[in-house]
């Protein structure tokens, strides 16, 4: 649910927590190096193990953060998925805001003034 009061923001509430449970549970499993390796070996099989919904599976396949959030993903767990691909939070920020990483960094710097 996007909160009407705060544009571009999804509060991870009960509705999101229910919707995203399978996806977040898979991401939580990536605290283990063995599980990260298993995912990389066979992404389809690993996703099936956690019962991802079709939109969740598609969002993971697309490596698309906004889609992952819309499918119920919580960024604390999604960060573990992103880590597998070597993406940091600035990569995620740039992708979600539709700018390059350099542009995203420049925006952050501008907030200092």
């Amino acid at each position: 649910m996007t909160t009407k009061d705060i544009p571009g923001t999804t509060l991870f509430d009960g509705r999101q927590a229910m919707k995203g449970y399978a996806l977040n549970k898979m991401c939580f499993s990536f605290n283990s190096a063995d599980n990260r390796a298993a995912f990389l070996r066979d992404e389809d099989a690993y996703s099936a193990l956690y019962g991802l919904t079709p939109p969740q599976r598609e969002a993971v396949r697309a490596r698309n953060v906004l889609q992952l959030i819309a499918a119920g993903g919580n960024v604390y767990y999604l960060a573990k998925l992103a880590g597998i691909f070597g993406l940091d939070v600035q990569d995620l920020g740039a992708q979600q805001t539709g700018v390059t990483k350099e542009e995203f960094k420049a925006r952050l710097l501008a907030a200092a003034h």
Partner: protein, 279 residues
């Protein structure tokens, strides 16, 4: 009775762990952040804490959505750091002060705070990074009591409730029959948002007003509900609840020893505040 020496609030951005491991403290990007800490270490040397009570939020290391406590407290002999998935170097385990844990548990539940108690608990970067910033050799001179506040799953506890929790923890520490010297830590914030089209949101004027309020008007932030705090500080900026609980535990009067504020580290406005409690 135990004595509270003061409190320290700091950000816990994961990139700090990478910078530390790569020894980038003097690098132009990092220097304004790390330069905040030598005065803090000198202050710690002067107040000689034995125990640290750490208010922090777990990011999916110890707790998952299967069981998500609003307030959880460690009562473990030892707290272990572990792989969080995106690879920052782990730190040595930290000893727990179990006697204080149980004293706080008994005192708070006596005051009708319904805590989750944990005799096994992994602690993530929100505990380990502040510890490593204060004691870079990671040869921990203090035992800890971690107090975890949920900032993952909404509804979060309100700022008002976190303040009340902090006050109760402060009362518990001051009534602990021990001569130990207790330091309070608040780990998190300040303004930042990692998720959504609003990612990268930072609010300098609110952060500075919040830091100032902790010195002179500590209840100021309790006027805001959680949605208002997200609006003003970002979805992860709500971690300022840790600062608020820490401040509440210090009691009425504090003195500012040191502060620092720097934008940005990673996606985050970083803050550092050291407050002493008059003896």
């Amino acid at each position: 009775m135990a004595h509270i020496v003061g409190g320290i609030a700091t950000s816990h951005v994961p990139a700090i762990g990478r910078a530390t491991a790569q020894k980038l403290q003097g690098d132009a990007y990092w220097k304004p952040f790390f330069d905040g800490f030598p005065p803090v270490r000198r202050w710690i040397d002067s107040v000689r804490p034995d125990v640290a009570v750490v208010f922090y939020n777990d990011h999916g290391l110890n707790f998952f959505l299967d069981k998500m406590p609003t307030f959880a407290i460690g009562a473990a002999p030892c707290y272990t750091n572990a792989d969080e998935g995106w690879g920052i170097p782990q730190v040595p385990a930290i000893a727990g002060e179990q006697a204080l844990s149980w004293h706080i548990i008994e005192s708070l539940i006596g005051e009708e705070f319904d805590l989750t108690t944990c005799q096994e608990m992994n602690v993530d970067h929100a505990v380990t990074l502040p510890m490593a910033l204060l004691w870079p050799d990671q040869n921990w001179p203090v035992k800890i009591v971690p107090v975890c506040i949920n900032t993952v799953q909404f509804p979060l506890p309100s700022a008002k409730r976190c303040f009340a929790l902090g006050e109760a923890v402060g009362r518990a520490i001051r009534s602990w029959g021990s001569h130990q010297r207790v330091l309070l830590l608040g780990s998190g914030g300040l303004s930042h948002q990692l998720d959504g089209e609003r990612a990268g949101f930072i609010n300098k004027s609110f952060d500075l007003a919040f830091m100032e309020s902790l010195v002179h008007d500590p209840r100021w932030a309790t006027q805001f509900d959680t949605t208002q705090l997200v609006e003003k500080t970002g979805t992860q900026g709500v971690e300022l609840l840790m600062w608020l609980a820490m401040r509440a535990a210090l009691g009425d009067k504090v003195e500012r020893v040191h502060s620092n504020y720097h934008i940005p580290i990673s996606n985050t406005a970083t803050g550092l505040l050291v407050l002493s409690s008059p003896a």
